[in-house]
Symmetry: C2
Subunit: 436 residues, 2 copies
Amino acid sequence: MSPKEGTKPPGQNLFGGEATGPPQPFFHSRWVQAPEHVRDLGPDVGLPGGFRAWGVTCGIKPSGNPDLGLLVNEAPEPVSAARFTATGMPAAPVLVSQERCRLQSLRAVLANSGCANAATGQRGLDDAAKTQGATAVAVGCDPSEVALASTGGISHHLPVEKMLQGILAVRPGLDSSGDGAFQHAIQTTDASEKRANLEVELPSGTVRLSAQCKGAGMISPNFATMLCFVETDAALQAHTADLLFGVCVKRSFDRASVDGQLSTNDTAILMCSGASGVEIAPESEDELRFGEALDALLRQLAIMMVADGEGAERIARVIVRGGHEPSAEAVARAVANSPLVKTALNGADPNWGRIVQAVGAALPGTAPLSADLTIEGIPVCIAGAATGYDEDALAAAVKAMEIEYEIGLPGEGAETEVFFSDLGHEYVRINAEYTT
Amino acid sequence: MSPKEGTKPPGQNLFGGEATGPPQPFFHSRWVQAPEHVRDLGPDVGLPGGFRAWGVTCGIKPSGNPDLGLLVNEAPEPVSAARFTATGMPAAPVLVSQERCRLQSLRAVLANSGCANAATGQRGLDDAAKTQGATAVAVGCDPSEVALASTGGISHHLPVEKMLQGILAVRPGLDSSGDGAFQHAIQTTDASEKRANLEVELPSGTVRLSAQCKGAGMISPNFATMLCFVETDAALQAHTADLLFGVCVKRSFDRASVDGQLSTNDTAILMCSGASGVEIAPESEDELRFGEALDALLRQLAIMMVADGEGAERIARVIVRGGHEPSAEAVARAVANSPLVKTALNGADPNWGRIVQAVGAALPGTAPLSADLTIEGIPVCIAGAATGYDEDALAAAVKAMEIEYEIGLPGEGAETEVFFSDLGHEYVRINAEYTT
């Protein structure tokens, strides 16, 4: 069972939500600019050419909400790229997808919510393989062309019989406008829909990019715990798809943290149909522009996941400059995952001593560290010492819904960022008050 | 100002508390056994021979609660040992104590609450030096014999004039029964008193051990964020004191975590007067027995800090066995600091998938990891897969106030433990709802 599915009140999140009037534009964070050659087509235009998807309720979730989704690339020669969780304890669908799939030429993805099929041992692998085989038969392809993705509670076994029925039920629904139904089938505690349909103008022609994404809890950098499926009708070679997708994942989901927790089930897949006839040649202007669009898409989705973090009321970006790469990374993550920083963010508390604490803790043995801290453009600490900043201005600045912390470390060199959410009562309510 | 001083309702903690009837015995955790040769003398017997202490209100805290404490070792040749925070951004009192003190022969400790004197730059160092000098004059010793310890909010400057007045006021109060007053002067969000007076039977005679300790938030391993002062009338050589204290700190405060946060101000000091005339010779039976007593004392204090963790309702011990040392350490800390594990602990939720998540996240690149998990003696996961355990028995077991998780990693070798508290609404209330 997905333990927490349905426990989060809708419309509580920062951005959008189903009950809050007309949807806002997809690109709405101050931290992501839509490139000029990218246009948001809104939620209703359907998938790029060559793709069909659908979602159904097959009974994994006791709530009766949709829990099984199928996504198919009908191109003659599908191209794909994939990234998975870095955890030492990956779920069965991750292991099966990594070890038994041709990840560069996937034909289909079967995704379910309501059960992670994690910590399920050999039976979990067997169960996953059965659903992979059934999907291959339903779609008419080889099992190695079917990737699997699951999300939900850890330690429960998949209800395989229900899923096999579900695969039969979802197959006839496949539709080029089925991305919304597919999206709903992969959601768990998400309070808002994370879905996009973009049009990208390239020198060689116009292509489409769509994405469906879920993720609200057990979200951590390296990379963020989530499922994300991206489709394009551009024609990419497998190597180009892998390269672009890898770079963009590193700059987006890798930089997001809700609670510093790394899921057993993270999966992100890019699928390319080539139906537009526009080829993205390596090292071409097309590749550059397409990469910019993919980058903006994934960064906005990552920020939406953080903003929809379980119980999130405020979000922040921490930027660390200077020092060397591992130090900058350690500092950024220490700040993003500090419960003291996150509760201060929740309470709009200007108590920046907690940020200094996290910086120092991330770099033991470096004392005294000459670090700088600027909050919303106000320098509060220079070379390790408090400045004479305007306390009222700072108190007003930290009341914003998106807060930016800039940390300077001694020396030139590294620069990194992490997007993160706050820690408030709602996170505790969702995660403590539920009992399996 | 100590931002959170006084915000925690008393009597809410797991152990003791001022308003909950007669104090319980000092040794009360199932995870610490008092050695047979150690006797708890209760709170009212005063300090070991050679020590005097006192605490006053000097006006650092707006609440008017005690905020300045002085501890003096009157032995002809005082012996001491000290440990400090590992942070890269230590507070001024830590830097001054580390760089300007004879840490092996301290005569006095000046401790204040209500202000950490951290992130205060050169002025902070100058302020600390002034209070060190004034204490040396008041006590009649060299400034290098006066250690400083501060706790409270980061980024504020010490009110030096008030403290100088306070040093004059606290001096005449110095008393062999002043440990309670000294304890009160160093508390911030602590809801319970962490203080002990022990008698230790050694082959060569009977000695005393006393301790006063504070710590509730910004508590993390390596080592726990706290102040702890330990006094004994045993006679130890400086080398022996340092060795024993170092080992015992590693087995106690180093293994405690409330919120995974490393303070700028951690300070632990052992002071030896030798007034009992009992010498603890290196590698003697006396040293062994004294070490056992010191170990039990510090472990019980560490567990009391965790139990008094901000908002703590339940506490846990995670033991990791197998693998090599860095892996075991990473796993233990990942579990202890996981907000998902901590909220589950708070809610008495048997959802152990979150523990598996933390284990896997701590050891990226090891998939598939064959880890075992036992909760309160019930094996729930063997070789990475759920067992057919009794769900009702598990649900009942996790309702206890102290929960034990045992994790097995592949291979022989390492063994480590971390004591940690849960994450509940009270932690969020204390840390989010207050605004500086």
